[in-house]
């Protein structure tokens, strides 16, 4: 409980800080003031510009970062448990590659933003469905190993399609857009995006949250889990569908943001242990807070916006190496 409380507190502090900082600095007191004025409908004592900045510019972006970070971390924790491997990231089954191909095809064929988002979302879901279908058809080996290997093969295939489109794309308009998208960013977020990802993320997270204790059982060997009374095939299918849904939704507005889904579950495990009853909420909170922090850095540390994927990798990889070098538990 203490760990969860710390995670929640951390996320709250980061959100408040993120509301304050930026090109237009707002004091914490003014932030509370404009929020209070909105809630109560009372008179605004702070600068009206603060109200606009907080509600029209920063809040949608912060909420998007919270949602995307929480989604990626929850999907990462789920996949790590299901694949019994703490080094798995949410794109193990090709969701990111599929989403990327969808987005890049959209950019290449000059679709509207809305269509590109839809193509991204569908690309991610479709790829994982394809991997699952091939995995189900290959029944000769261990089901989990087959899924991982099929995922790698499909991902490689999609990667070559992505490379081909990059070669064919217009180098002045489309290629920079593609590159930028592949590095991930929340710059262009608006309220409509927020609604469009909130629904699939909520639909995907709800079953994960409700069944989170059962996820512990999927970390055991297949025979053990089934002998304990778990219908592992159905449960695993449900978890994969949910985790894919939320990852696809997140990626559809943010582009590819690596490392969050791999790293945050580790930090959460460090904080609250491996039991998913606590690990899942802790991952949601830490993932949300972490991405708000990174996104705030992305828009404040330089004159231009730094793509999120670059920052998460620059922070994530050394942290990961540090974990690898110092911690023994959880790697066995």
């Amino acid at each position: 409980m203490k760990g969860l409380f710390l995670a929640a507190l951390g996320a709250l502090v980061v959100v408040i800080a993120a509301l304050c900082v930026g090109k237009y600095l707002i004091s914490p007191a003014d932030v509370f003031d404009v929020i209070w004025a909105r809630i109560t409908g009372g008179p605004l004592t702070a600068d009206p510009t603060a109200d606009t900045v907080v509600f029209n510019i920063r809040l949608p972006r912060i909420l998007a970062a919270l949602l995307v970070g929480a989604a990626l971390a929850a999907a990462g924790a789920t996949f790590q448990g299901m694949f019994r491997n703490p080094l798995v990231s949410p794109d193990i089954l090709g969701v990111s590659a599929g989403a990327s191909l969808g987005a890049i095809l959209g950019i290449f064929t000059s679709q509207t933003v809305w269509v590109i988002q839809a193509m991204t979302f569908v690309g991610g879901l479709f790829t994982v469905a394809l991997v699952m279908a091939i995995g189900a058809a290959v029944r000769r080996h261990d089901a989990i190993l087959v899924l991982v290997l099929v995922g790698i093969a499909v991902e490689t295939l999609l990667g070559s399609a992505i490379s081909l489109i990059k070669i064919l794309a217009d180098p002045y308009n489309q290629l920079p857009a593609i590159t930028y998208w592949l590095l991930g960013s929340l710059t262009a977020i608006n309220r409509a995006d927020l609604v469009s990802i909130l629904i699939p993320i909520a639909i995907g997270v709800a079953p994960l949250y409700l069944l989170r204790w059962r996820l512990n059982l999927l970390t055991l060997s297949e025979d053990e889990a089934r002998a304990l009374g778990v219908d592992t095939r159905k449960l695993r299918l449900l978890f994969i569908v949910c985790a894919t849904l939320i990852t696809s939704a997140a990626v559809s507005v943010s582009g590819i943001i690596g490392w969050v889904g791999l790293l945050i579950p580790h930090m959460a495990r460090f904080l609250v242990g491996p039991d998913f009853s606590r690990l899942l909420p802790a991952s949601l909170l830490l993932g949300g807070g972490y991405l708000v922090l990174v996104d705030t850095l992305a828009r404040t540390i330089a004159g231009i916006e730094v793509p999120l994927g670059i920052l998460t990798a620059v922070i994530g990889a050394p942290f990961f190496l540090w974990l690898l070098a110092t911690r023994e538990r959880g790697w066995q």
Binding site: S221, A227, G273, R329, Q332
Partner: protein, 259 residues
Amino acid sequence: MTLATKDLAIGYGARRVGEGIDLALGDGEALCLLGPNGCGKTTLFRTLLGLIPALSGRIELDGIAMARQSRGDIARRIAYVPQAQASAFPFTVREMVLMGRAARLDLLAAPSRIDHHIAENALSRLGIAHLADRIFTEISGGERQLALIARALTQEAPILVMDEPTASLDFGNQVRVLEQMRALSRSGQAIIFATHDPDHAFLCADRVALMHQGRMIALGTPDETVTAANLKTIYGVDVVIATLAESGRRICAPSLTSA
């Protein structure tokens, strides 16, 4: 609770591992399965647990065909004690043992205070209550085996299936696990276990089944079945069966021919 098989054939798809297996296990009975590596013990266990389908024949739990029961139904009747393996995540012993409650809980539920109480009772019963908050992967092999037995007990199934519960344990831990098995059996828990040591049959089995090349070649009390002739058939080695003068306990020991 009874478990019975009728003319059971076991195996994987086209590969038939064993056939003509007739077994019956009554309330509180301890049945020891003896047989060399590759004779089909593990395949039989996986079939009895409903993890793989029977190729032909029937398995009945309390007279109901197993093929018609859900995973939860089976888990409430038969619990499985696997050979201890490492877990990818550092669960505590308590968390591990609580997983035994899965078949007793609603789909959306997490273990309640009552479930915690049941898990703690199981740990105390096996004398490892002090390990509750230790990391499962960091305790010794014998302690892990006892923890897995505790997990199976929290499942509250009348039958326990144990696949070589003493494998890869040192001598002291083997004896500790055997003692617990006998105590459980005396308290009314039905147990089917496989072992590589025929002597374990004398220590804690009511009945013994001998498997050889996928067939059941003998089924009866330890005294009837664990004979030098039968062991010669299944293992191809000579053994001495003797009775200890003080306790009257039968023992089985190898007699090396190249002496």
